[in-house]
Symmetry: C2
Subunit: 125 residues, 2 copies
DNA sequence: CATTGCAGTCTACAATTGTCAACTGTGTAT
DNA sequence: ATACACAGTTGACAATTGTAGACTGCAATG
């Protein structure tokens, strides 16, 4: 929730982060490049820039191992929590409840979602 | 939820939108300027630029009335819904339920929030 | 009617973001 | 030992964003 983290990951960078998050282990650029080249159609140069920028802003750690291996310094959960908090601050007057209420009132949730959430709320507390 | 809207309102622009949303009626720049100059410490020029950009991107309508009056073309609800959908797509695999689950599991909600939500979920269905 | 203040428009400029090419050094294959 | 491929670095360039000055014309005020 603290907004002084090395967050502020941009759209393209987020794609790199997702790859690393889902990999679950440090990856060499080779692999990052292959995956994103295919998935996004980006040139190797583009991918290398994104990885570098993420390292610069501290969102990715690079560890020397013959060739560098890259891994996130912030988890997907943490980042999602930060971005969600940011949204709540900016658009829901800082109230998470307002956000949920908006989802419930819009058609953002299916019946199944609602059922599952009801279940969750029952368990909580 | 459709992302082809004239959305993508930036941080500074959002402050202008909020002012207009909360005003609930078309405002002349004079008023926008006064409020934001005080609230944000921005120069008049800055505020005029932001308003112009919002008009350009179609988020604000300008109506001639001796001097121009400005009003949003998209409601706060609509924009919030769009931005929330965007977040859900980008970080919660398109599942609103995942977002809510994350809020429940994190400490994003107070006990009071939880109570009120439980109430909401009871009524829904 | 002349003055003044400010709305509206144009221009500007640095920082960030999306994309990528060029260069450099080194590990791997021949 | 040599060559090749590619990781890592540097630089680049257009679009967007944050912030603001300058100019122009109208509208209110004396």
């Amino acid at each position: 929730m603290s907004d002084h983290l090395a967050c502020k990951i941009t759209g393209s960078e987020l794609e790199v982060m997702k790859l690393l998050w889902h990999a679950g282990e440090a990856l060499p650029v080779t692999e990052i490049r292959e995956k994103l080249q295919e998935a996004k159609g980006w040139e190797p140069a583009t991918i290398k820039t994104l990885v570098s920028r993420l390292v610069s802003k501290g969102a990715v750690r690079q560890e020397k191992r013959n060739v560098y291996f890259y891994s996130p310094t912030i988890s997907e959960k943490e980042y999602s929590a930060w971005a969600t908090g940011d949204l709540i601050t900016r658009l829901y007057h800082g109230s998470a409840r307002e956000l949920v209420a908006a989802l419930v009132n819009a058609d953002g949730l299916t019946q199944k979602d609602l059922d599952e959430l009801r279940q969750m709320f029952k368990v909580e507390d």
